[in-house]
Symmetry: C2
Subunit: 218 residues, 2 copies
DNA sequence: CGAAGGCTTGACCGTCGTCAAATCGCGTGG
DNA sequence: CCACGCGATTTGACGACGGTCAAGCCTTCG
């Protein structure tokens, strides 16, 4: 499972004119089918993106933290394909496509960076397809925890102890399980000594053994 | 489920210098971890893309037919994240990134078209996440058939009778089921009068009822 | 014409979803 | 500051859907 939409990508976007915005917990930054002319860089806080199909099924497609980008899919036709909801009080930078385009004309680095971010997000989704298409519950939760661990580590936090600020239901939606199964798996992981869980706090992740769970054929 | 990677997108890429290449059935156009400097437009034939994880699990991530693009994920860092295999004798146009970049500098339309294609592929993957994360077997196969139907229709063929040139195993890998389950579902669909199946030939798809299956909550 | 690969079907079993109940924790308002 | 209430979480019991293993048939390609 991959790190984030655009870890550390935003450094390259500095030449772009932007506008800051505050998003309160529970508030939506944008909704599916909105017309959008901007990308968003998360400065602080945490978001989830979700998509919805004809039957009203709603599914979480990712969690974005500081340094990640939001709103990439609107580059297709200016319409948001997903919704972004703040899971805690957050700050973002809104960067208009126009401004990005304008800046990119004289900055090949920025241009290529944008291609790279988009392509990286494709790769990220493909990794999720493997998780959802070929792994059992145990492996799905292991993949999720390892991904979160890597992302916290990259941001200078502990990779083995951190707080999951999303609910069990949101985790379950993301990895294709029900909230009950997620809860049961956390309990099982704890019994196996893979991790200590107390509500949203996870401590002392055994990364080696989680890797081994992923590598087993499932 | 979405149509294809870049249906009809290639028209915008005409100004780009390209090289034609023939790919025989079973041959790989590129493999994961290859260094790649090109995108590929499918001129004729059919491909599958697949990705592989640490445990050796291999999963089909898409099928590409005439007019679709291949190799987008290599824009991330010049390394292919997936493999592309021809399912029948095919022809492609190889378009070097360099050439695309060069042409795009003076062609805003091409530049935006490339963003759009990349973003469209992100949206496509997200739709697959819904299929794999939230649907039962019946709905997965219905979604697959409706997607194929739409893509054939868009290319001027019948949307209700066509030939599936991939194997049951490949279909199953794509929609997260075993080949046995795919086979059983085809038989069940036939018994229900949703479609007539004879090997790889599917005839008289009942699109309305397939839509209804998708809309039911799963 | 033969062999290898693809497809279908059956029997059985395990994983995970569903339904239900109890507990925990946090935010709110008295 | 404390009590209340709602949402989140945990755990249990049960069943269904889809995976696994196996056998036989069909098709296609060499």
């Amino acid at each position: 499972m991959p790190s984030g939409i655009g870890d550390e990508a935003i450094a390259h976007f500095e030449p772009v004119v932007y506008r800051r915005r505050r998003v309160s917990r529970g508030e939506r930054l944008f909704s599916a089918n909105d017309r959008s002319g901007s990308l968003y860089a998360v400065r602080s806080g945490l978001f989830k993106t979700s998509v919805c199909d004809v039957a009203g099924r709603d599914q979480v497609t990712g969690f974005q933290m500081g340094g990640d980008l939001l709103g990439l899919d609107a580059l297709h036709d200016g319409i948001c394909a997903s919704s972004a909801t703040a899971l805690e009080d957050s700050h973002v930078c809104a960067m208009p496509f126009n401004s990005i385009e304008a800046a990119s004309i004289h900055l090949p680095v920025l241009r290529r960076r944008l291609y790279a971010v988009l392509a990286g997000e494709i790769t990220r989704s493909q990794q999720m397809l493997i998780v959802l298409g070929g792994m059992n519950g145990e492996q799905r939760l292991a993949a999720f925890l390892l991904d979160m661990s890597r992302r916290f580590l990259r941001r200078g936090y502990s990779g083995s102890s951190f707080t999951l600020r999303m609910t069990r239901a949101e985790i379950g939606s993301y990895i294709g399980l029900t909230l009950e199964t997620v809860s049961r798996l956390f309990s099982a992981f704890q019994r196996s000594g893979l991790v200590e869980v107390r509500q949203k706090q996870v401590c002392n992740l055994d990364l080696k053994r989680l890797d081994a769970i992923l590598a087993a054929d499932g």
